[in-house]
Symmetry: C2
Subunit: 610 residues, 2 copies
């Protein structure tokens, strides 16, 4: 039997599995699996090289199903490859199974969760970049639907991949003409997709996605051209089953039992073939052994320094002792100060230009291949990548994000540049560490903590230079806090972070003149919060707590403290409660109620009320 | 004097203003203004038609500076047009001035805030769609930087504009070669930009952006072709000042006093010309008078109904009595049930395909022209448009968003499709109304409330069908709550919303058997929260409160209640605290701790502890 005959048989088996497993589950997307069956067979058993015994073999090709709703056929392919038992396909979508409705890394061969469309190409680009960096012979394949090509993130990725010369990246676009609610934008005008990829700097080829010979030939170019390759494949949604083929209204619908019987009759008996015999072994390759220490030499700060500059210093110092650290920029590295790393380690630095979604998506891909990506942009612009950040969480992705220029304290540039909702992006993510250092020393320490922690971390940095509060070797463990002012019988406690710590210290001085002593706490670890420390402080200050933060009311430090202290303290929450405007930083802190004056007033109002 | 000579003089004045005002402010982006000066002069005083006395004249052309950091020259153009006093330019970026660092609608001619790059083209597309719909002769011009063309949102907009045949839309790309931290991706390869726009279905022309004759000629085609037009203009950053021209490192830096003097010498004396004489009047046009009632006929529900279906019903009913209502879809209208509106009102319905950023951006544009846009997608995918939502807030944009398929209650599709962080997106936005109805009746009422409210609103709907709780005519005012179970001496209060209301009612029944009576509150208005009602309920239940929600811990109803009750109650917060997985809805509600069983246990744990 030649390979083409084998692939035909395997494709038929994949079709049968996809239909059976979605009917068993009672939900799922069988028709989109049928359009993909020949492409999937050719990818897994015709072109890709991987070691079925080891998902982390450095020689492996990687595959990302960006169209995550085609998960059933992906699981079927892994079953045919002998990686999961064939019987396990029956458990699709069950709470006990790792074969979820959309792919997640609970199944170890999945390196990034998909299902929010348009994200896979960035992940593939990150993997391809990692393979280039680590001298893997592998290639990254990404399967996209035609519908998801409306997502801008696809074009951010296409742009970056071409500019970064990722010739080891191959996109396969499954043009099955039908979206969820309507025909897709270009229907069968395949040239429209090809023109777009070509304009973005890719090699392109248009094929019949059900002609295995064409598919195999097209795929064989992957990694052999000087540019990334897009294969635009014309397919039929529901291919192989007459009453499903090219019919609108069948998206995301499993067949009923009797429909399934009819469909299986049309496809014919499941061909007997041991698919795994057709797998292609990877080329021998050894993952580079990289120094990966996190105890970098910290800077000795004396003068006023912005925490964003300390981030830059720390990232460069970390890069020296940890060779797995890579950085990705969205053309703001001279503001976030990631530029220091870029200058020191150009081969480990990736310019993604002004494309935050791709920045985070590529980070997921680099992390999936074992690198430790740090990404920084203005905190405000991380909102642009919120969906990618969410999907990185479901990917259990070890990525590190830094948002600079937070809050009204940036001043004159105005509200579009002020990160005032970033804590509300990261706090909801289970397991995500959120750090918000006040000074340069703590900012550097936080970078070290982020590098040590396995999982997503977010660091919040500020624009203006601020005094140094801490000694060079002070530790800032995740989940801790620092008590900066403490008396024997403090009247109230102020819980602050970042720039408002300095306002709290000013309020302390002002109140002291009137004989009012307050506790001042630097809650640099917003998540996990130092709940025990804060509960104790509240108890010791008779339940009088002021929280002050340069963030909107919802989702930030105030909410975190309120949740920790519920029932245990009276909390006054000073935060930005209006849509702010341009102005000088100090004017804005005062106008929006988070300056020393307002802290003092909040403290004094306790006195009156009790 | 002919128009070309006039434009040259006006351009020189715009250059002088831009330099002077940024030096006076001590911050800002003069060099990007200099590259734009000739284009801006030609746009405002050569091609665009508008009535300087009325920003809402229905015949006006509209302009969006997507590259919002060029704000100074935009303000200068409005000053030269006589719309703001020339003297006011001196107040750029002051806290007292509406001439902010990046454009916001505090200045009445700005209809959408910009400054987060890549968003303006969607806004322009929305304006162009509104003009077509309302038969305005106006055109929408959008000025983009070359750097921001890396943003995927630009290509979502380009795609939508071509597919929607928005021939009245014109993009002007200011290719000045230099980004913030690096040269831009294509530098002076202007054909690269032209190829991309052409591949996305646009007419394109490449010009010298400092040759006024070419600029005027290119602009004169705007609105006269059968497709949207992209003008790719080669410019020089810092044009006109030798020591700034094409120099990296000058992004976002104002000149010092002595540098300013040197620069002004090079540009020469400010030409004496009354620019406003060169303004072109708009064509006469009358804004359509549209019926705009919000008291639509509500459906009489008897059977179990999903709140998402009620949204669809209500939107269609609203569309009948309010002709300004328009809908935009991201190819999920058969899941959000917006499809009913699409079928009933095709001319007021816009398919944006799978491109959530463009959906929200177009909504901002339609709202800016006076329409009332409703947009729906899976709540999870609104994370994709978080930056656009943020900018819509700074635009004071009257847009209405619906997120369907929230929480683990969607079941088998798995975490990528579960909206578990959407409340944390909308709650931080000052003035944003957040509604989360439990049943079909309240969902319909909430749609009416959203239509009445001036400003951004978010409606959270759920996938599964649920029983009807309320009578057809029950009112659900913004800021209210409903007490569903109340006894004379309730032991504790459960505050729920959406699908967990039904779990709370089950817990009520279960506890009642043991003689434990509880208060059950439907907190359908998450923001503003019914603080008074909830404080009262907490007081009447001896400070024992359970909050239960199908959302992650941070940023949702639990945080809102904790903030409202701080110091007044012991709160147990039941919510999704892990990254969830695929499974049956009822299994997932139970596994992640938000089912009736967990509510009962939380209530009983109060008993033990007090």
């Amino acid at each position: 039997m030649n390979r083409l005959d084998a692939l035909k048989k395997i494709a038929a088996r994949l079709r049968v599995h996809s239909l059976e497993m979605t009917t068993a589950a009672g939900s799922g997307h069988p028709t989109t699996c049928l359009s993909m069956a020949d492409l999937t067979a050719a990818l897994f058993f015709g072109e890709m090289r991987f070691n079925p015994a080891d998902p982390d073999d450095w020689g492996n090709d990687e595959i990302v199903f960006s169209k995550g709703h085609a998960a059933p056929i992906l699981w079927a392919a892994y079953a045919e490859a002998g990686i999961v038992p064939l019987e396990s396909l029956r458990d699709l979508r069950k709470i006990t199974s790792v074969l979820e409705g959309h792919p997640t890394p609970r199944m170890p061969w999945i390196k990034a969760a998909t299902g929010s469309l348009g994200q896979g190409l960035s992940v593939g680009a990150g993997m391809a970049a990692a393979m280039k960096l680590g001298k893997s012979p592998g290639r990254a394949f990404v399967v996209l639907g035609d519908g998801e090509c409306a997502e801008g993130s696809v074009w951010e990725a296409a742009n970056a991949a071409a500019l970064l010369d990722l010739a080891n990246l191959c996109a396969v676009v499954d043009v099955n003409r039908l979206g969820q609610s309507d025909p897709t934008m270009h229907q069968y005008r395949l040239s429209a997709y090809a023109r777009k990829f070509a304009a973005f700097g890719w090699e392109t080829v248009v094929i019949d996605g059900h002609d295995l010979e064409s598919i195999v030939e097209a795929l064989s170019s992957a990694g052999r051209l000087s540019r990334p390759l897009a294969i635009i494949a014309r397919t039929v949604k529901g291919k192989g089953v007459s009453f499903l083929e090219d019919k609108n209204g069948w998206h995301g619908k499993p067949l009923k039992k009797d429909e399934l019987e009819k469909a299986l009759e049309e496809i014919g008996p499941r061909p007997g073939i041991e698919a795994r015999k057709w797998l292609r072994a990877p080329r021998k390759a050894v993952r580079p052994k990289l120094k990966s220490r996190t105890d970098f030499v910290r800077t000795d700060y004396k003068d006023k320094t912005a925490t964003r500059l300390a981030y830059g210093n720390a990232l460069k110092a970390l890069g020296r002792v940890h060779e797995g650290v890579v950085a990705i920029d969205g053309d703001v590295k001279n503001s976030t100060y990631a530029d220091q790393f870029f200058e020191a380690f150009p081969s480990r630095s990736f310019q993604s230009y002004i494309a935050e979604q791709n920045m985070v998506g590529m980070g997921m891909g680099l992390a999936a291949k074992g690198y430790l990506p740090f990404m920084a942009t203005f905190a405000a612009f991380l909102t642009r990548a919120h969906d990618q950040i969410r999907m990185a969480a479901y990917s259990f992705s070890n990525i590190k994000l830094c948002g600079s220029h937070v809050g009204v304290s940036i001043g004159e540039d105005g509200p579009s540049q002020m990160g005032l909702e970033d804590l509300a992006i990261f706090r909801p993510i289970p397991g995500c560490v959120v750090l918000y250092p006040s000074d340069a020393v703590s900012a550097e320490a936080c970078v070290a903590e982020m590098a040590k922690y396995k999982g997503m971390c977010y660091l919040r940095t500020t624009r203006p230079a601020v005094p140094v509060l801490y000694g060079k070797d002070e530790a800032f463990p995740i989940g801790g806090s620092k008590t900066l002012r403490k008396g024997a019988s403090d009247f109230a406690a102020v819980i602050a972070a970042g720039v408002t710590v300095f306002e709290a210290l000013k309020a302390y001085e002002e109140l002291k003149k009137d004989g009012i002593e307050i506790r001042v706490i630097d809650a640099y670890s917003v998540q996990p919060l130092d709940e025990a420390g804060i509960v104790k402080a509240a108890a010791e200050t008779r339940g009088r707590v002021v929280v002050v933060e340069d963030h909107f009311e919802g989702g930030g430090l105030g909410d975190a403290v309120a949740a920790a202290l519920a029932g245990r303290a009276e909390i006054k929450h000073l935060c930005v409660r209006e849509l702010p405007r341009s102005g000088k930083p100090e004017e804005l802190l005062d106008r929006y109620g988070i300056s020393a004056r307002h802290i003092s007033a909040a403290i004094r109002s306790f006195e009156i009320s009790k």
